[in-house]
Amino acid sequence: MKKGLLIIIMMLLLGGCWDEAQYKDVTIVPVMGIEKDGEEIKTIFSFPTFENGMINYSTSEGKGFSTWNARYDANQRTMEALNLAHLEVLLVSDNLAKKDIYEPLDMFFRTPKNRITSYIAIIEGDMEQYFNLPEDVNTDVADFYPELLHTAVLYTFVAENTLGETAKILREESMDLSLPYMTLNEKGIPTVEGIALFSNYKFTGKTLRKEESIAANIMKDNLGKHTYLTYKWRQKESPITIEIISVHRKIKITHDKIDLNYVIDIGVDEFPKNGLYKNDMRRETENFLSDEMKRDFNKVIQKTQEAKSDIFGFGRRVHAFHSELWERGDWQETYATFPIEVDVKVRMKRTNILD
């Protein structure tokens, strides 16, 4: 009796075996691309193959009427099943993002095994080119994109956009999505060009360039580990590079305008003209930088308003505290024409080891 009971208990402990997934049966996909091909979805997967003890990366393509369907199609051309549990980067083509972007992404959130902390980026042009890196790159797709985006986050070119965050913002009426935007340079090397602006569920086709993207992240107080800005100071005939130390922002919303007040602490990293040992020179530099940054910030506001894309989430505060303004109608429409005034005050906190 006791033996029988023991066997039954031991059998029950084997419960997890049904759901055992062995690495030999699957192939891990670190980078995946989705694009629109006519009325269909086209997916490209980069996955490792082992030849003569070396790891190489191959690609497999699939087409279908949904992302899963296209994945299924691609799966039929690979030896093992494509597994997205360790996906590091998802690339989405601009033509697909201009439609409802949530639809092709649904499968990532519905299946618990999928990783949703992967980076997501929008690419310009043909997806296939992004999976065939030129020899100059000297690395594999699987290493290149995660590192490229990680560096972009580290240097505040873009915010850390994961699949999960994307889903959350897409479901929010009071804020719009912005995702890293990649293009190919003249040598065919993929580059983070800036950020793609979304309005509701769709990519507007409008983007912010890299410098504008950094400015937008400063405005959101969403700094990476390093945030550098370089200006040409024509009057002094000198470049000046600064590192943002911290951002203090105040947002005041009334029924007829938004006032944005920024106090930005900086350090100077490059200024060949020198002379920062003089108090007057430091004040003059602060004033120059305040004006430059104010101009940049205004430009960013203007571009996001043209795109009807509230990437700053002003709508969140409007929804929370200004019901009259919120109820005027679609927030994106209101945002597009709403007066926004920006004021920037730069405080030089460090001149580093030179004056």
Binding site: I9, L12, L13, G15, G16, C17, W18, D19, A85, H86, F109, P112, R115, I116, T117, T162, G164, E165, A167, K168, R171, E172, E173, S174, G313, R316, R317, H319, A320, F321, S323
Partner: protein, 338 residues
Amino acid sequence: MFTLSRVQFFLFLFIIQTGTVFISFQSRFIMASDHNAWVIFIFAGSLHYVQLLLFEKFHKRFNPGKAVSHLYIAYWIIITISFLSYINYTLSVWIFPHTPQFITMATIVGVSLYANTRRPETIINLPIVIIPLIPIFIVFLFMSLPDLVWTRLFPLDVMEYKPLLKGLFLSQATFIGIEIFLFLRQYVKDDEQVKGKPIFIYQSIWFLFFFTTVIFVLLYFPISGLKFVTEPLLQLLKYQKVTFVERLDMFFLYIWVIWSAITVILYNFMIIHTRKIHFKNTSNRFIILLHLILVVASVYLATKDRVEIVRRAIIYIHIVFSILVPIIVILMDRREKK
């Protein structure tokens, strides 16, 4: 017979009340209450405290006869089945899609069967297992702190009473199990004080636990997105990128399964113990039969539709057994004494 220390009593109650409920109740509650959810939960918390105080005041008059005890046994069986079917469904969706559901259930229920054929002291001390898991859960939760959006606490709209009432009704999910106070209170050692500060401390812990989960879910997810999220706490952890484990949600899911399994054991203990007291039945045949029913029923109910129906119905049944029946039993006892 057994006795309980004050700590054992409250720990028993805490596990019974938190158990399975705490990973899922937030979605429906917040969707019904909108941004008012946190205010409604503060009000619900006050009601919970009042209920505890009343239970403490009148517990000696709560003398359920055989008929009422039968009803409570049936009620707890329903509660246990609802918990198990939800656990079964959640596990099949999140971790074990290919494992036969009866195996998962048999494993959990098997542990309960083993525990409930031991001495009561074994079960009474079981909730201690959960204590180290609570801070782990809280630490996991606080990892999402930088992603919380505080403006989601507003706007408040307390003029519309219908969503407030609906929210208050759905917050009752966190009260499930409170009636066990009345059943176990008599076993607390006479020299241990329960009323006053101890009840207040228990109430504070209960409130802080649930309120924290409500606040985190409310501030983490946009309300319009919550309707897609069935287990918001699990999802919240799935969104976290950490270096020490690939999937934080999995880690938490296992904690929750242990927590829930202990809750099931405690409910079964209540069923078996109440039967022993009122029906002088100590046979193991009933215990085995009960556990068999639990396995079969929880496997049968573990589909999306059935789980939803049971979850919706359970709050109504809970209100009957945690408010209505105790009032009737206490009033009848008073009348009999007169």
